[in-house]
């Protein structure tokens, strides 16, 4: 039983990082996007492709994944942010679909709908990471490092500026701060962290396929931020815990599976809506409330 639980925790750690990366964007910079599923995929596929074609391991792959995530974010941010927040929503939505189509159709590079398998497990000091427990230890440390970096960023002058932008961007603008450039930087950090989570995923499941990185994944990550409490960093991590553990716990219910699936989704939707009405600040008491 412990191995199973530890396995679930590994997934929690991966999605926790994803949720925190999105919180940097939504909670701290005030930018709403629906593209993190595809960014997650960008990291996963980059690492997988480099592993299969150039023999990269986890370490090289995850570094490349961060770069890939950051670059794609840059590509989305630059044109959108000059226009409006609404345009960013549409652009992120559109890019999510376009990237997903790339993962699905570029057979030669991504393996198409069949996906890519045989992604190597991480090697640390010559030993291969195989047990769930070693994965949990390694991934917890790595995730914690990235989250710590984001935390430090958020407390720094850069972070304070982001919060100022979130509250009312006319103020820092009037003070001559390069608002758009700051938003773009925040987006890049967010994308890089999401890419890293993608690499962790790829080297754990050892298999990637397009359906994992579709618009529903983006919606799931958004839900984690909401339920956890945006603008708190640790809140969205908690949100990830809830939204990963809950469906797993439902496995133990003696319900007929044909009903269980849609029911699970209905419960998920209801949990979302209940939080929206009753506790918009999320579990951690973020800034979901007063505008």
């Amino acid at each position: 039983m412990t191995t199973y639980i530890v396995g679930v925790l590994v997934v929690v750690v991966i999605f926790g990082l994803l949720a925190v990366s999105l919180d940097l964007l939504i909670g701290y910079t005030g930018l709403f996007t629906i593209v993190h599923g595809a960014l997650f995929g960008m990291g996963a596929y980059t690492s997988a492709i480099l592993a299969k074609s150039l023999g990269f391991g986890f370490w090289g792959g995850s570094l490349a994944a961060m770069v890939a995530g950051g670059l794609i974010s840059l590509l989305i941010a630059i044109p959108s942010l000059r226009v409006s927040g609404h345009y960013l929503v549409l652009a992120s939505f559109g890019v999510q679909e376009v990237l997903h189509a790339l993962y699905l159709n570029l057979d030669g590079i991504t393996g198409g709908p069949a996906g890519m398998r045989g992604i190597p497990r991480p090697r640390l000091f010559g030993t291969e990471i195989t047990s769930n427990t070693s994965y949990l230890m390694l991934y917890s440390v790595l995730s914690a490092l990235v989250i710590l970096f984001i935390l430090v960023l958020v407390r720094s002058p850069f972070g304070l500026l982001l919060k100022a932008i979130r509250e009312d961007e006319l103020v820092p603008q009037a003070l001559g701060k390069p608002v758009v450039a700051l938003k773009i930087k925040a987006f890049m950090v967010s994308g890089a962290a999401a890419g890293f989570a993608g690499a962790m995923y790829a080297h754990y499941i050892t298999f990637v396929s397009p359906e994992t990185f579709d618009v529903h994944a983006s919606i799931l990550i958004l839900s984690m931020v909401l339920i956890g409490g945006m603008g708190t960093l640790w809140g969205p991590f908690l949100g990830a815990v809830v939204l990963v553990v809950l469906p797993e716990a439902l496995r133990f219910l003696p319900l007929d599976s044909a009903t269980l699936g849609p029911l699970r989704q209905v419960v998920y939707g209801m949990v979302l809506m209940v939080f929206c009405f009753v506790r918009p600040r999320g579990l951690a008491g973020g800034r979901g409330g007063i505008e």
């Binding site: 199973y4 699905l104 159709n105 069949a114 499941i205």
Partner: protein, 380 residues
């Protein structure tokens, strides 16, 4: 084909237990403790019908085995939703919590994710729900009780060329694993037989409007169109082909033999020619008859889908091999399956090749007036 019930009578329960105790095998090998067979399949959402069929078939097998005395088997089902992440989590639960002795699974993405894990644990993994040819040799401990789509499509391609005298075909397929491979295989085999493939058009999952693809296909004037889709799209694709390309014959694959497809497609289903594993629920073979009877008694409907047969066969194969093995799973079970090689099956004999795949009889059928009519059966 020997009836599984008759075979059961050869070894008595007492002899087995005595032999096991004498060998000092682990407690799970004793025949009073049931062997756990995990079933990791998509049981909710799209495609859940298939997962449910497999579980149903497995349950019937387990019941028949229990009724005949001897080793009991329990089926432990987990939902993978046919996606790899859930597959891995379900695998972890089944192996770590439920401690299953053998695992049945399917869905090529899921299989690709868990086959390496099954190898690491030396767990015998039986594929009952993935047709993709890349299932061959996917894992040392993986067997495919399910016919992979290459033989299937080669039979259809040859039939289309030689018997139906088609010279040009086009394909219309869903842009996922099954769709891509099936149509690619058919195209290759058709070309090998001497025909040409005019165009291959893809549509996305859950697509509702196929006008563009069919327009492109029509402009190439094929003699027939091969349509592949999941239950969410297949009936509508066929309907629209009938609408936009009215006189062009339609070829398809095994998925048309389902109540859902027939209800949704209505009259458009008529005259479709397709291939499927030769499962004939009306067969007079005593083993098939007792299986159909047991299925109808429990599930209140006639078993028509071959997936039910795959679930059933997989359990029976495992049971037979384990019996000769004194109930051992893992490496000895794997070796035993290879040493036995030929197993009776409810849809024809199961002969395992070296890469763990089976070759089964394929039936070429045509839908006429809502009835699945067998035209011919081809042996591997």
């Amino acid at each position: 084909m020997t009836s599984p019930i008759k075979r059961r009578g050869i070894l008595s329960t007492g002899l087995v237990s005595a032999a096991l105790l004498a060998c000092g095998l682990p407690a799970s090998a004793q025949s009073d403790k049931p062997v756990k067979i995990g079933a990791l399949l998509g049981l909710s959402g799209l495609g859940s019908q298939i997962g449910q069929w497999i579980v149903n078939g497995a349950e019937i097998a387990a019941e028949q085995l229990a009724a005949s005395g001897g080793q009991k088997f329990t089926i432990v089902a987990e939902d993978s939703q046919w996606i790899p992440q859930k597959g891995v989590e379900g695998f972890n639960k089944l192996t770590n919590v439920d401690k299953v002795d053998v695992l049945l699974s399917g869905g090529s993405s899921v299989m690709q994710a868990i086959a390496p894990m099954a190898d690491e644990r030396k767990l015998v993994l039986v594929n009952v729900g993935a047709q993709s040819p890349n299932m061959a040799g996917i894992g040392k401990f993986t067997f495919s009780a399910m016919q992979l789509s290459d033989f299937d499509t080669s039979v259809l391609a040859k039939y289309a060329y030689n018997t139906l005298k088609y010279r040009k075909i086009a394909t219309l397929y869903v842009n996922n694993d099954t769709g891509k491979f099936n149509q690619a295989a058919l195209a290759d085999f058709f070309k090998a037989a001497g025909g040409t493939v005019t165009t291959q058009e893809a549509f996305k999952s859950n697509e509702t409007n196929y006008g563009v693809q069919i327009a492109k296909i029509r402009s190439t004037s094929p003699d027939a169109i091969y349509v592949v889709g999941t239950p969410a799209e297949l009936p509508f694709a066929v309907k629209q082909v009938r609408q936009f390309a009215p006189k062009v014959p339609v070829l398809s694959y095994a998925a048309v033999e389902s109540k859902d497809f027939m209800t949704a497609a209505g009259d458009s289903a008529n005259d479709i020619v397709y291939t499927t594993t030769a499962f004939d629920p009306d067969s007079k073979d005593p083993a098939v008859m007792s299986f159909v009877k047991a299925y109808e008694a429990k599930y209140k409907e006639k078993p028509t889908s071959p997936y039910i047969g795959y679930g059933y066969d997989a359990v029976m194969i495992v049971a037979q091999a384990m019996k000769q093995n004194g109930g051992a799973s893992g490496e000895p079970l794997r070796a035993r399956i290879y040493s036995i090689r030929r197993f009776p099956g409810i849809m024809g004999e199961n002969v395992f090749r070296d890469d763990g795949t089976v070759a089964k009889d394929i039936a070429v059928r045509k839908i006429e007036g809502g009835v699945f009519k067998t035209i011919t059966v081809v042996k591997p």
